[in-house]
Point group: C2
Chain length 195, copies 2
Amino acid sequence: MNRKQTPLREQTRNVVRSLLAQTAVELFAAQGYDDTTLDEVAAAAGVSRRTLFNYFRNKEDLALSGLSEQGELIAASLAERPADEDPWTSLRAAFQVLEEIETTAERRLELITLLFGNETLRAGHAEKQARWQDLLAPLIEPRLPESDRRALEARTIAAAAIACLQAANEEWVRLSGQVDLFDLYDTAVRAIHRT
Amino acid sequence: MNRKQTPLREQTRNVVRSLLAQTAVELFAAQGYDDTTLDEVAAAAGVSRRTLFNYFRNKEDLALSGLSEQGELIAASLAERPADEDPWTSLRAAFQVLEEIETTAERRLELITLLFGNETLRAGHAEKQARWQDLLAPLIEPRLPESDRRALEARTIAAAAIACLQAANEEWVRLSGQVDLFDLYDTAVRAIHRT
DNA sequence: CACAGCGTTGCACGCAGTGCACGTTGCTAC
DNA sequence: GTAGCAACGTGCACTGCGTGCAACGCTGTG
């Protein structure tokens, strides 16, 4: 029977994956994304280059692997909000799981700086956040009043909320993390959503 | 004197650029983006592979070159709107230059289908649209009331409007272009922006 | 001990992208 | 008209990403 083996394997696999991503991000931050070859990452992690591709689809994934999980976390958090809550209130609460997860402000800044400093990574980041819509919109749709375009409305609300989060995040980085992220988020939401 | 040469060269250069992009897109649409090598594109266009890189930064640019110009067109259109106009009204009007420019609905669908069907292109598209914010936000900011976070507010409005356009565009594709794009856009805007 | 499954690894290959150097073309100046 | 100049096209060599394939070692099992 392998009823218990599979979870074990997956568990170790996830650990290794995290380790690999961590060493990769450190190298990227230290000497730049483009100036770091996968051979160097592999050597630093003590595995072969070929093995990296067993854990990550490509170089970009090595840097962005954390973002996909974030989307799932937000979606899971959103799913637990009361069904009769206002979507914007639910989304704001769901986004706050990010503050619980992330490590120190320094580490966040390091990662985001790396991320914003390279066009490929920015593009990958934008795409990942666009995929968050796919997770969030279905959870928002049932909360909206009857309409023949409810799917579009739900998607738009998800996209707009993510855009607010993104704008707040950029401003937060610009201010070197000196202010509260969700103060900025609230400002952003108020700018577009008159209640 | 080369007061007239430079425009001439640039003009021919732009023409060649368009030709190259066009043949590339046709090939991409016909046999898929990943399954089309730059050697094939070069051969189809009658130039060397090396020359492609004289006109485009990379393969992705061959497919997305049109999008950057669109951002500049929208920005130019936005700049001409009256200064005391509501930002959302101005943005809606500015976006409408897209309808004037684009070719047939079939061609748009072909391009967008290609674009949505590949992850790399989706990412590049998302990033390009994110860069639109850099062009639009500065034009929106002076239209906003005094505030100590006006830059963030302007950026958010630009991002939200683009998100509405994007959501409307996706829905428009999903409906195979059977409805008016700006009806969908208005629906999207109403979903987030209670006036 | 033999065996089977699984992950790791090396190897070879195709393709994207870059630096460099050479040939061609077309305009400028004399 | 001709010499020269500048931009462009092109070939070549090279680095690095990403993939298919086959072999190797490790671990648990009968």
